[in-house]
């Protein structure tokens, strides 16, 4: 079976972007769900979005500025999220509002057509470039490499951060590393899913997986599987029904979460009690 250059452009790139993006979102989602920091992730995705807008404004690579903003947000949010002396939710609310404010400020300052802004809001997987696919591939290698190398340390931090610290694991470094990797994944998926929707693809598949298993390895695999199913089914629906691809992917991801929740062995066994 051979593809013409045009067919390659039309199908293979989006498909590869969907597969690579789903796998990284599936892995990072497990971290976000088990660390119980969904709002941190939402804030980071909006920071990445604001960064991309400022990239357009400054006429530089928007993904680079998005990465800087997302990493900056991670470094700011990390200490805030672990402070015990005040409510982290309140501080996160302020940072979240700030990232949105910066994004809209950037949009307001932009001159000329704002097509790219909408791409970063909604994403369009059909317009990804080979460079985007390559970056997603590199991010996948990075994340899988770190996961394999630091698996036991990451597991300990996901189980309980205080215990991880008490047994001599560099818990804060690992936590920040996870946050920054989360920022990288979000940034690299801005083009495909969009800044406003990407976080659903991080949280929903992992949350669905959390409903179904008591084993961490299985949770990773299920989360990746659900993210892949969401992306591929979403893409198919988008193609067949002429829907925005990012929105279709997120709707499928939410549907999978709903089904997992309804048929969760964990939830049903608790109801029986």
């Amino acid at each position: 079976m051979s593809f013409s250059a045009a067919e390659l452009e039309l199908f293979i790139k989006p498909l590869l972007a969907a597969v690579l993006g789903s796998v990284v979102c599936g892995i990072v989602g497990v971290w976000v769900v088990l660390l119980n920091i969904p709002f941190v992730g939402v804030t980071m995705s909006h920071a990445a979005f604001a960064g991309a807008i400022f990239g357009l404004l400054l006429n530089t690579n928007p993904l680079l500025t998005a990465l800087i903003f997302a990493s900056g947000a991670a470094l700011l949010i990390g200490p805030v999220a672990e402070r015990a002396d005040f409510d982290p939710g309140m501080a996160l609310g302020v940072i979240f509002a700030l990232t949105l404010g910066l994004a809209f400020l950037g949009i307001g300052l932009l001159r000329g057509p704002r097509t790219d802004v909408f791409r970063f809001i909604w994403g369009n997987i059909l317009l990804v470039s080979w460079a985007d696919v390559l970056l997603l591939g590199v991010s996948l290698l990075l994340i899988v490499g770190i996961l394999l190398m630091l698996n036991k340390e990451i597991s300990a931090v996901l189980f309980n951060r205080e215990i991880a610290r008490a047994v001599g694991i560099p818990e804060r470094a690992i936590f920040f590393c996870l946050l920054i990797l989360c920022g990288i994944v979000i940034t690299l998926n801005l083009n495909t899913i969009g800044g406003l929707l990407i976080f659903s693809l991080v949280v929903s598949p992992a949350s669905a997986a959390y409903q179904l298993t008591y084993r961490l390895k299985t949770m990773y695999l299920l989360s990746i599987g659900f993210a892949l199913a969401s992306s591929l089914l979403g893409l198919m629906l988008s193609y067949l029904l002429n829907l925005p691809s990012g929105a279709a992917i997120i709707c499928v991801a939410s549907l999978i979460f709903g089904l997992a929740f309804l048929f969760s062995r964990k939830r049903l066994s608790r109801l029986k009690i």
Binding site: V167, I169, P170
Partner: protein, 242 residues
């Protein structure tokens, strides 16, 4: 003899709240020290200054002659077994009991290295010792409070620690579990030749092997001495009075 723990003029504060004020305490190797006081007195803060989980504003902590600092704290923590106040674990967490025990050795093994068959064997022996080996594949969020404390003790002992820190190990347990946990703590102390520091506000549950008590009130040590003298009713009345 070099003290196991030497806390000198330590102050810990969280903004305007002073959790410990200019506290000094020396513990000899092999001692079993009970730290007693009302809620909010600074007992847990005193305990966590030893393993560096509490952030010290001023003063020094030395363990076996070595001053604890940012550079050596992770290595020192691998030599300190810590049993925190009973954990609230989501019943749905994807970790089983065995994993929660094995975690104890992760810091000691070091970054990027895998646990060995020897570590698994040691964990198995400890789980058998605490009679929780039958539950090793059970989700750790679905075990009882007493079993959770045994997991914490097994995890701490897997580290092969020199010092064992126990933070309210009997809180929220039923009478039977309390008796069992106290018996196990006594056994561990004797069998593993440890220095033990145990925080409690339940004086009745201090193990018989505890020979020294430190009374903590309003961020200060108000009394330090032999257990029999420390737990006299008039002294405890003073400790727990408003």
């Amino acid at each position: 003899m070099i003290p196991a723990v030497e806390i000198k003029n330590v102050t810990v504060s969280y903004y305007e709240h002073i959790a410990l004020h200019n506290v000094s305490l020396t513990i000899a190797p092999g001692e079993f020290v009970g730290i007693i006081g009302p809620n909010g007195a600074g007992k847990t803060t005193l305990l966590t200054t030893i393993n560096g989980l509490g952030r010290i504003h001023s003063g020094t902590v030395r363990l076996f002659g070595e001053t604890v600092n940012r550079r050596n704290i992770r290595r020192i923590r691998t030599q300190i077994g810590y049993v925190p106040q009973q954990l609230t674990v989501d019943p749905r967490v994807p970790f089983d009991l065995q994993e929660a025990v094995l975690l104890g050795v992760y810091g000691k093994i070091g970054l990027g290295r895998s646990i060995t068959a020897q570590h698994r064997q040691k964990a198995q022996e400890l789980m058998a010792y605490f009679r929780i080996d039958q539950l090793k594949h059970r989700p750790v969020g679905q075990i009882s409070g007493g079993e959770m404390q045994k997991v914490a003790l097994a995890r701490a002992l897997l580290q092969e620690p020199k010092i064992l820190l126990l933070d309210e190990p009997t809180v929220n347990l039923d009478r039977r579990s309390i008796t069992e946990i106290i018996r196990l703590i006594e056994e561990i102390y004797r069998r593993f030749n440890l220095t033990v520091v145990m925080v409690t506000h339940q004086i009745d549950y201090l193990p018989g092997v505890c020979n020294r008590v430190v009374l903590v009130k309003e961020a200060k040590i108000i009394w330090d001495g032999e257990k029999e003298a420390g737990v006299k009713p008039e002294r405890l009345d003073e400790l727990f009075s408003g």
